[in-house]
Symmetry: C2
Subunit: 451 residues, 2 copies
C-alpha cells in the first residue's frame, strides 16, 4: 500500500492527531467570550496564530485562519480586488494556477472585471519578464502560485514580486504546495495556503495579508474549529522541522522516477521543470494509454496517484495545466510523495509500472477496429470521430508509416484531448504538426511525416 497523492491531501501527521485530541477539551468555546472557557480558547488561538505567523514569516495580526485553502484564495482575491476597485478592474493570473484562483478570476470577469491569463513555458513556469509586461496602471491584483500542483514546477515568485512592487501592484501568492518546505521569499503582499497539503486536517486554510495592503473584508468571522487550527499549526511546525532533510531524500526519489520511467517504459514524456521543482512531485504521460485505466490498475497494485488526463476528469477535458504547457495529456500520472514515503515503495512502483502500462496498451490496441483509412495521393484520412483519448493518437501512430515522407495524415476527431495530444505526439516523434482544419464533424488535425 503506497499513497503517492500528497499533492491532493497528505495523510494526517501524527503530531496533528495528537494536537487535535489534546485541544478538543480546551478549544470548543467561543474565543470572543470573556469567561474562563472563552479565555482558554483565546489563549490557544493566539498561540496557534503566532506559531503559524512564524512559519510563514509574517506578523500574527496579518494572518487569518479560514475553512480551507480554497476559501483563503476566494477571500483573499475578492478582498484585494474590492479594496483596490478604485485603482482599476484588471487582474493577472498565470494560466497554470490552482482552480480556486482561476474560478475567482472567472467570478471577477462575470462581475465586469478584465483578466489576463499569462501563458507558461513548456516547463510550466511563467517568464517573469512577460509577467512584468502584463502589469498595467489599472491592474488591481496579480496572482502567482509558488509552485505548480500538477507538475511541481517552481515559479519565479521573487522576480515577479519585485516587478509588482515596482509597478505598485499587490501580488497574491498561492503557496499551497510549497509552504510545508519553507517560507516564500520575496516581497509578496498576500499569501494563501492549505493545511491538508502538509498533513494538517482538511478544512483549514491560511490567509495572510500584509499590513498596509488595501483589503476589503466582507466577513468578520474567523474560521471557528479551533482544535483543527491547533492541529494544522502543530503539523506545519513538525513538517518544517523535517523539511530540509526530507527535501533531499524525496528529491532523490523523484529524480529516480524522472530518470528511470523513460528507460523502463517506451513512449513516455516526463513533464515539468527538471531542476526548479518541488522535491516530492514528478509527473509523466504515457502515449497510447487511457489515464483512468492506468490509475485503476495502479490502485489494484496498491498505488494511489492522480492524473490530469481527460478521461479522469468530470468534464472529459485534459488538465488546464498540461494544456497550458502544451505537453502530452494522455496516460498522465502525477506521483506526489508524502513526507516519509518509503524508498522501497518507490522501487516497487518502478518495478510494477512497465507491466501495468504494457497491459493497458495491449487492451487498448487489441479491440481497435481497422481505421477507415482511404488513400488519397500521398495523404491519409483517419476517422476517429466518437473515439476518446488515447484512441485518436493510437490511430495516427498506426498509419503514419503508410504515407511517404512529406505526406500528411488528417485525423478527424471530436475529442478535446486530441487538440493537445496530437501536437504533443508530433513533438515527441519528430513529426511536423501542420495545424487543425475545420471538418464536417469535429476537427481535422493535420500531421506531416518528416522522418
Amino acid at each position: 500500500m503506497a499513497y503517492f497523492d500528497a499533492a491532493s491531501a497528505a495523510p494526517l501527521h501524527p503530531v496533528a492527531h495528537q494536537a487535535l485530541s489534546a485541544s478538543l477539551d480546551e478549544g470548543w468555546a467561543d474565543p470572543g467570550k470573556l469567561y474562563r472557557e472563552g479565555r482558554r480558547a483565546r489563549i490557544l488561538l493566539d498561540a496557534a496564530r503566532e506559531a503559524a505567523a512564524e512559519a510563514v514569516g509574517c506578523r500574527p495580526g496579518e494572518l487569518t485562519f479560514t475553512s480551507s485553502g480554497t476559501r483563503a484564495v476566494q477571500t483573499g482575491v475578492a478582498g484585494m480586488l474590492t479594496g483596490r476597485r478604485r485603482i482599476g478592474r484588471h487582474l493577472i493570473v498565470s494560466s497554470v494556477e490552482h482552480s480556486s484562483v482561476l474560478r475567482s478570476a472567472e467570478s471577477f470577469e462575470a462581475d465586469g472585471g478584465t483578466v489576463t491569463r499569462l501563458p507558461v513555458l513548456r516547463s510550466g513556469a511563467v517568464e517573469s519578464g512577460a509577467y512584468a509586461e502584463a502589469l498595467r496602471p489599472d491592474t488591481a491584483l496579480a496572482c502567482l502560485q509558488s509552485a505548480n500542483h500538477e507538475v511541481g514546477t517552481e515559479q519565479p515568485v521573487a522576480a515577479v514580486a519585485e516587478a509588482c512592487r515596482a509597478a505598485g501592484v499587490p501580488l497574491l501568492v498561492d503557496a499551497a504546495q510549497s509552504l510545508a518546505w519553507g517560507r516564500v521569499d520575496g516581497g509578496w503582499s498576500a499569501l494563501t495556503a492549505s493545511a491538508r497539503k502538509w498533513g494538517g486536517p482538511s478544512g483549514v486554510g491560511l490567509l495572510v495579508v500584509r499590513k498596509g495592503v488595501r483589503f476589503a473584508v466582507r466577513e468578520a468571522e474567523e474560521f471557528g474549529n479551533l482544535p483543527a487550527v491547533v492541529a494544522a499549526v502543530a503539523s506545519l511546525r513538525a513538517v518544517r522541522a523535517e523539511a530540509a532533510a526530507e527535501a533531499v531524500r524525496l528529491r532523490e526519489l523523484t529524480e529516480r522516477i524522472r530518470l528511470r520511467v523513460p528507460q523502463l517504459v517506451p513512449d513516455v514524456e516526463v513533464v515539468g521543470d527538471p531542476l526548479r521543482r518541488l522535491p516530492g512531485i514528478v509527473t509523466f504521460s504515457c502515449l497510447y494509454v487511457d489515464g483512468e485505466a492506468l490509475l485503476h490498475e495502479l490502485d489494484r497494485e496498491g498505488f494511489s496517484v492522480s492524473s490530469g488526463s481527460s478521461c479522469t476528469s468530470d468534464t472529459l477535458t485534459p488538465s488546464h495545466v498540461l494544456r497550458a504547457m502544451g505537453v502530452l495529456s494522455e496516460g498522465n500520472v502525477r506521483v506526489s510523495l508524502p513526507f516519509g514515503a518509503a524508498e522501497a515503495d518507490v522501487e516497487r512502483f518502478l518495478d510494477v509500472l512497465p507491466g501495468v502500462v504494457a497491459g493497458v496498451r495491449e487492451k487498448l490496441g487489441a479491440p481497435v477496429a481497422a481505421p477507415a483509412a482511404e488513400v488519397r495521393a500521398d495523404s491519409l484520412v483517419v476517422d476517429a470521430l466518437g473515439r476518446r483519448c488515447p484512441i485518436p493518437v493510437i490511430e495516427l501512430a498506426k498509419v503514419i508509416g503508410d504515407v511517404p515522407v512529406g505526406g500528411t495524415v488528417r485525423v478527424l476527431s471530436d475529442d478535446e484531448a486530441a487538440r493537445l495530444d496530437i501536437p504533443a505526439w508530433c513533438e515527441m516523434r519528430g513529426q511536423e504538426y501542420v495545424g487543425e482544419e475545420p471538418a464536417d464533424h469535429g476537427v481535422a488535425y493535420v500531421v506531416r511525416r518528416v522522418s
Copy 2:
C-alpha cells in the same frame, strides 16, 4: 464551575470526541478520488450525510456540509436570492434573526435589494399574520429562525411556512438553536444549522435546500474536514437520543430560574415567551446593573453566561433582539444550559445571584455624584450626559419621587441603551413614558410620574 452558555457553543459531546478520533485515520483523503483512501473517505462522508439527513428530515442529496452555521446562512441566502433574481429583489427577515442572517440582508441591500425587517411582539415572536402580509409578488426569499438565540422564544415556523407556500415564496429557516431538540416542522424550503450548538465541533454547519427550490451555487466545493463532519453528525444523533428526556429536565430547571429570580432579586424583568420557548434558555435583565460587571462577578463565582447589555458589546449598543422586543437591556443575563447541566449548579446559581446583583448595584450606587437636578415648576431635568448604562436609569429612579404625580422628569443622555431602557423602566414601574425630545447634547427622554 458551571458553563451556562450553551447557546453560544455547547461543550464537545463525548461521542463527538470519540467519533473525531476514530475517523482521523480514515477521513483525511479526498473523497472525490477513486483510489482506496478516497473511497474510504467517500463512504464515511456518505454515511454522515445520510445520518444528518435522517435527523433533519430531508433527502441526503438536499444536504451539504459547510464550514460553519454562518457560512450555511450566507450560502443559503445568497444562493436562493440569486436563484430567484428574476422573480424579484425583495427579502423578508424578522428583526430578531441571528446576526448572520441580518448581515446577509445588509449585503443584499448594499447590492440593490429591498429588505423588510418584521417587528416582533414583546415576547420576541413574530406574528404569522403580519408575516403573511409582508409577502409580495417580488419577494425572492423569506427567512425565519426556528427559535431565538437570545431569549429562547419559538417562532411560528409552520404557520409562516404555510403562508409562504401559498404565496409561492421559499422560506429559509435558521434552525441553529433548535435542531438538537428535534426536526423543524412545516413546509420550509431551506434550513441551516450549526454543529457547535449541539456539542459537535466548531466550524461545521449544515445547509439543506429542498429539491425543486431554485438555487444558484457559486462554489461547488463542500467543506472538507471530514472527521469534524463525522463528529458533528455523531453528536447530533447522540443528543437527539437524549433530547426528549433532557427537554423535560432542562425546562424544569429554566422554569425554576424564571420563577425564582424575580422573587430573589428586586427589579428584575424576565424576558421571552414563558411557554413557547426552548427548554434550556432563560433570559432576564436587572435594573440598575452594569451587565459587564455582572458577568465578571458571575465568572468569579464560577458561572459562564452571556449578556445582551450594551456594555458587553463591542459597539456599546444593546442587543438588537432585546431592542426589537422593547424590553430592558441593562443588567441582561442569558442562562443557556447545556445538555446534562447539573441541578446543583442551577441551585447554586440561584443562591449566588442575589448577592452578586446587590454587590454590583452597591458599587454603582455609591460613587454616583449628586445629579445636576434643577427644579422647574413640576418638572426636573437630570443631566446624565457622558454616563453609560445603567447610570441614566439609576438617576431617573433616584429623582422620580421628587416631582409630584403628573410632573415630569427629563433625562438628558447620549447613551444608546437609554433609548431602550428608560421606556422599559417606565413599563416595569408603572410610570408613563412620554417620548424623546431633541436636546442641545444627546436626547431628552421625558417620563411622567403617574403613581
